[in-house]
């Protein structure tokens, strides 16, 4: 089987500081990879390098494209990469404001991504947008409201709908439940888990919340100071952590 994403030696420096160093891994279709570590461990830097938001200093990010097979995303032309970002890739930001257009309606936010890939029949776009709002538990009656009138949890669900409407094959998520109330977080996690399973999505989820990865991720990468220090099956890494830092991380989780 060809990996969907094959990352080799990815390195990003900020001047003399290391963002992430020599990261290599493969992601196979249908797999959900969790990247955990404390603030400053390099997990967001890594995600942004993978998604093309940051230019790494070294390495390869080879994506199995629909039309041409495996290609290094880093050497693609900007329009090609942007097209990938609108079709096969999706990026769910921690702050919905970074992933939504706050001045256009909820329906418009979902429809915009459809139009970007060539949809132009208004009725069909609106119908699909309504369907997707339903899937993320937003009432069809709110389709013409702006996201600024939505709660934080609703905004995050809208961002997910906007991202998934084009049927992407790879979803990047940066702390998708960060900054939400715990009850809202739980519902959102259930929703993401359901969508990921049902659509057979491949995803890379960055979080500092181990409960999130226990629920969503098939396997884990633990990062510290820009380096990957441990990898493995999610339940194995959490139940039998090997590296000193991972043991500390797992034992630091507060029990209710």
């Amino acid at each position: 089987m060809t990996p969907l994403l094959n990352v080799q030696g990815l390195t990003k420096r900020y001047g003399g500081r290391i963002g992430c160093a020599d990261v290599s891994f493969q992601l196979y279709p249908g797999e959900v990879l969790g990247i955990v570590g404390e603030s400053g461990s390099g997990k967001s830097t890594l995600l942004n390098c993978l998604a093309g938001h940051l230019a790494p200093d070294a390495g390869q990010v080879i994506f199995d494209t629909r039309s041409d097979g495996p290609r290094d995303v880093l050497t693609m032309s900007e329009p090609e990469r942007r097209m990938l970002g609108r079709t096969d890739w999706a990026f769910v930001h921690q702050n919905p404001r970074d992933g939504l257009r706050m001045r256009i309606s909820a329906g418009g936010n979902v429809g915009e991504r459809l139009m970007a890939v060539g949809a132009h029949h208004y009725g069909a776009i609106r119908e699909k947008a309504t369907d997707w709002l339903g899937r993320v538990e937003i009432s069809a009656a709110r389709i013409d409201d702006r996201p600024s009138a939505f709660s934080g949890g609703m905004q995050q669900r809208l961002q997910i709908a906007r991202n998934l409407v084009t049927g992407p094959r790879l979803v990047f998520m940066d702390e998708p439940t960060g900054g939400l109330d715990v009850s809202v977080q739980a519902r959102l996690l259930d929703l993401i888990r359901g969508l990921v399973r049902r659509m057979g999505l491949s995803a890379i989820v960055v979080t500092h919340d181990l409960a999130v990865v226990r629920l969503l991720a098939d396997r884990l990468m633990v990062m510290k100071d820009g380096h990957v220090i441990e990898t493995g099956l999610t339940d194995q890494v959490l139940d039998d952590p090997q590296a000193p830092y991972t043991q500390l991380l797992v034992s630091s989780v507060l029990q209710v």
């Binding site: 739980a186 049902r198 098939d218 396997r219 493995g232 099956l233 339940d235 139940d239 039998d240 043991q247």
Partner: protein, 152 residues
């Protein structure tokens, strides 16, 4: 006959890095085989390593040495996705404590393995899930949450 489970020379230590790096030896030189259709009981006193063996067989704990072959796959060398495939298709695990998401109805808990195998939703939620569910909890409502069930 090829054994279903073949454990050879299994070794396991727990190293507690944050408690002065003490190493707790649990298993050394453990070997056994289980034939297809055979039911084997693992007995021993508390702390003897029974659960550790079971968790290694399931891929939940890492072994420090030896090999564990289940259905031809060496768990100690396998990639995470190979272990996940084995768990979906070959290997089940009944634990003393069912770890479920508290918000999920029991029917969903039973249906999930079928969905993971790619079965259609109506089938997963249909006869098989309902019968398994009824066998486990005849009087429980299908929509009840799993964590409300006694002795889960």
């Amino acid at each position: 006959m090829i054994p279903m489970i073949h454990v050879e020379n299994l070794a396991k230590n727990f190293v507690l890095h944050n408690q002065g790096g003490v190493a707790i030896p649990v298993l050394a030189g453990a070997s056994f085989a289980v034939a297809p259709g055979e039911c084997v009981a693992l007995i021993g006193e508390s702390g003897a390593g029974k659960s550790t063996v079971m968790r290694i067989l399931y891929g939940n704990y890492l072994a420090q040495g030896g090999s564990v072959r289940i259905g031809g796959l060496d768990i100690t060398q396998a990639e995470p996705r190979e272990i996940l495939a084995l768990r979906r298709e070959t290997l089940g695990y009944v634990s003393q404590f069912l770890r479920v998401v508290p918000r999920v109805p029991t029917l969903e808990v039973v249906a999930e393995p079928l969905l993971a195998l790619g079965r259609p939703e109506d089938e997963a939620h249909g006869t098989r899930a309902r019968s398994a569910h009824a066998a486990a909890h005849p009087r429980a409502a299908l929509g009840a949450f799993a964590h409300h069930i006694l002795g889960r």
